[in-house]
Symmetry: C2
Subunit: 574 residues, 2 copies
């Protein structure tokens, strides 16, 4: 036993020595419900440790008003998660990793802005605003600024320059200006105390690197370009005249925001002494400029020029990169934006997406669950515990069972056609007022047939996006999928491949966003000279590839025409 | 005890004596799945006894091919049911009733024709055809003659006289000529042996009264006028030229069918000795000319001029009567027919209907049941017997629970609009190719909201029929509802009343069809001089009345416009 111990000690020592020469970066990935840290070996891409932290206040539903689409997050949820996940991941990691962390980069949801004071401190971390939702982060899915978005759109169309033109031509209530304008209109106290505003993805790097001054902290090109109407051609943000015309309350704010923006290959600074101590890392750790989760997810899934990187979850985010010189001045209409370097520095980043994807399947599942949760749940035939187990067991299998039943139904057999607009339409041509629809129903339209039509509708929604890119002169060479649906539903993925008539590669990494962020950190730390190089070295490759089945492709062409026709009828007549 | 017995004996005797002076009629009601006899006191309308017989061959699915919409019934099912139900009801009835039965009338489904030999014997009761579905009754819902109906419509529009004009202008695959043409085209053996054709409602009275000769048996005006394009203005059935142009196979058949038709106040004859003996009745019992179930149901529910009698079940049959002189030569377009005396002799009978009503609720229920029957049914958490009970218990409550949840949702709150064409559209403007649709769906559209929209859609379908009558100059003074939905669903009935903006009376009788048929028998037997008089004396009155709620009426006006708009989009563009 003693010998054994010695051997182990030797091994540890040898591992430690080995680790000494290996370098790591940390990807910090702030999602909607939780934050995850991922420590990655920069040479091999090996994911050596990871930790997750669920936002405690968010989990308790604090500061939110879901029926009115108000979703706010407290900065403390982010701060606690920052410390916990990095410290915890380092604990999990082999000895010697902490000393060899070269950089940290951050991705977050967005647009998720917060108002800050002159020092860049979020108002909700200052006295008097601790419990005020208007002093907190306004989460990406907060829709309280619907009216403000409409006003922005209206004014933009009348203005000499259309400031929405690089954001697809339609401004959304989910974005920066609509949100901040709504908040300052609603809350005079916050308006008076608000010096400036920062995005979540800007604040974390600013904090870690010790420069939170709103006028000088390094702002994310990704957030600013896609959500804040920032563009080089405008000399930065929309003009003061435009903003004041929108609302005199905005007067002077532009100067307290920013002119310059930075891509995620740029360093925001180095880790402050305070944070270095808290996290158990060196002060030499480089902090990268932040970006949005989906964008760095595309990097993690090894996006290539002219490949759509499709994050497929409750909704989708469809990203495409193309060499700047090839896109040139061309405007791609009806998407969510085109920003120099927003995904991969040096490349034009184009973003699109579907407002609901997996959410539509979940919606149909919730309809089918209704008798279980509202009738069976009240039965007195069996005991409470068994009943709950039975409901859960049945519920959990619905999507899988529906998928296997739906897979057996021949294409076009049911005659059902559906529209995937149950949460409005993000792209092409954003219109949040649109709604879902199902036609071609008869008394034989059973649950699997309807489910199949819903899946086809989501695939058709994907095709509408691809078609728009192509119609606007942006070719598509392939699709790389990531996210829960891509990983878990071969049934859905095959239909999407057939409908798109395009092979779809599914990225292997389970944590593509955090991995992409770790790749960005490796570039920032100087390990690699480009994102593409980091992807080649650190990428985890492709797990599966779905190939379109020629016979199906032909059949779906006819169905897609029906979808498009039905869509036009509903959009322009109902 | 002995004293008690004596008293009882006295009572029996007194009852018997009393019964001696009371007269009865029997209504024999052939439905889709079973036949029912009802013995009714002609003075009071009291329903003294009843018996039901489920068709045994039909129950075993014999001779049918449901996926191909072939539904056939063997005459033996009808014959066995005829004998059983009358004998059994007489057994249940107090002593002395049998001797005091004055008449029997018959209602059946329709158009449900069968081919017969020269003697009027159904081919399937003759050697060599016993098991041939083409030699059996072609049930009302058999759709094998879709192509033949199309040909009839096409030829009619080209012909100098449009023989479909008194049947709403569109011939259906559910009707006489389409069915018989399909059968003789498909089956050369049947074609060679077929001398003539009779409707189910003609055959039973012919049999009971002993005259089955196809050329002289008394044919029902109701069946001939609504389904066989018979009209006085045409001199009877469509011309020989028309029929031969349709198909030379029809050559000569017209002469072996009929010229005259009779309303249900006319006697077909008296009970034959053979049947009198079998049934235990007198040879003096008068047999009435038959009619369709829904039509005599309207009589049983005490239909009045300008009242829509709405049979609300899986589908609806909407009947209206109006004085002949007030309708005159006016053609009511887009309904299922207008026939002199088809409902109440002496009155114009107008028929319309919805192809699916309760069937739409049943369809939605079956979707919600899917996880119960396909996932929970396979669970191993509980024993088989409990599982079956649990599934049944849950299933049985779905419609009621959905109704009470849906009732709490404010009108127009969900934004969902549905079309009730899941089984095509019967009226207005028959189009069996139409399908159902649902629009206005979002991720909050739960099961009760969708159910509510489906109920509203069926109510809107009812309004479309009423509106058509009115647009064609036929006023509507009120609605009398009967059938399962009318009896069982106050939630649905209130919505229909609100949407129609019209009070709805629900008939009290649980057996309105059989009761109406017994009323017809009382007229045939000479007890009453008119159907109206029989209704006054034998009617069981109104059970409930639904009054439109003014506030709701206003709200539904807007929703109906959406329904109509959506309907036009789907009908003319998809």
């Amino acid at each position: 036993m003693i010998i054994g111990r010695d051997v182990n000690s030797d091994l540890c020592l040898s591992n430690k020595n080995k680790n000494m020469s290996i370098k790591y970066t940390i990807g910090l990935d702030y999602g909607t419900d939780s934050v995850r840290s991922l420590i990655v070996n920069v040479e091999t891409g090996e994911e050596v440790a990871s930790a997750v932290f669920n936002y405690p206040r968010w989990q308790r539903g604090m500061y939110c008003d879901a029926p009115n689409n108000r979703f706010r997050q407290h900065p403390k949820d982010y701060l606690e998660g920052l410390e916990y996940t990095i410290v915890e991941a380092l604990k999990q990691a082999p000895q010697g990793v902490a000393e060899n962390v070269l950089g940290i980069s951050v991705d977050t949801t967005g647009s998720t802005p917060i108002t800050v004071d002159e020092k860049g401190i979020p108002l909700s971390l200052t006295p008097g605003f601790e419990e005020n939702p208007n002093a907190m982060f306004v989460l990406w899915k907060d829709h309280t600024g619907v009216k403000e978005a409409e006003e922005i759109n209206e004014l933009s169309k009348k203005w000499e320059v259309d400031f929405t033109k690089f954001e697809g031509g339609i401004y959304s209530s989910e974005w920066f200006w609509a949100k901040l304008l709504h908040v300052i209109r609603e809350d005079a106290g916050v308006f008076r105390a608000a010096y400036s505003w920062v995005e979540h993805c800007d604040w974390i790097p600013a904090l870690l690197s010790g420069n939170t001054n709103p006028k000088t902290l390094k702002r994310s090109r990704c957030a600013a370009g896609h959500k804040a109407m920032w563009h080089e051609a405008f000399g930065g943000l929309p003009s003061e005249e435009f903003l004041v015309a929108l609302d005199p309350l905005l007067s002077g704010l532009r100067d307290r925001l920013f002119k310059e923006t930075y891509t995620c290959d740029v360093a925001a600074g180095k880790l402050t002494e305070e944070w270095a101590e808290k996290l158990g890392l060196s002060k030499d750790v480089v902090i990268g400029v932040g970006a949005f989760d989906a964008h760095l997810g595309a990097v993690g899934a090894e996006i290539e020029p002219y490949y759509v990187s499709k994050v497929m979850g409750t909704s989708t985010c469809d990203m495409l990169i193309a060499p700047m010189e090839e896109v040139g001045d061309k405007l791609v209409n009806g998407i969510c934006g085109q920003v120099d370097g927003s995904i991969v520095p040096g490349m034009m980043g184009l973003e699109a997406g579907q407002s609901a994807f997996g959410d539509i399947y979940a919606w149909f599942k919730s309809i089918l669950e209704w008798p279980l949760k509202n009738i069976l749940a009240e039965s007195e035939l069996i005991d409470e515990a068994t009943k709950q187990k039975l409901i859960e067991e049945t519920s959990d299998k619905i999507i899988a069972k529906l998928s296997s039943a739906a897979a057996k139904i021949p294409i076009a057999e049911s005659g059902i056609v559906a529209l995937d607009w149950m949460n409005g339409r993000r792209t092409p041509d954003a219109n949040q007022a649109l709604k879902g629809a199902i036609a071609g129903l008869n008394l034989g339209s059973d649950a699997p047939r309807i489910f199949r039509a819903l899946v086809e509708a989501t695939a058709f929604g994907s095709k509408a996006i691809n078609d728009r890119f192509i119609a606007e002169g942006v070719r598509i060479d392939g699709v790389i999928a990531l996210g829960g649906v891509a990983k878990k539903s071969p049934f859905v993925m095959q239909i999407v491949a057939d409908v798109l008539d395009m092979p779809i590669k599914v990225a292997r990494s389970e944590q593509a966003c955090a991995l992409g962020t770790a790749m960005a950190a490796a570039v920032v730390a100087g390990v690699y000279s480009s994102t593409a190089e980091a992807q080649r070295k650190m990428g985890s490759g492709i797990e599966t590839e779905y190939h379109p089945i020629p016979e199906n492709v032909e059949k779906y062409k006819g169905l897609y025409e029906q979808y498009a026709k039905f869509g036009k009828l509903v959009e322009f007549n109902l």
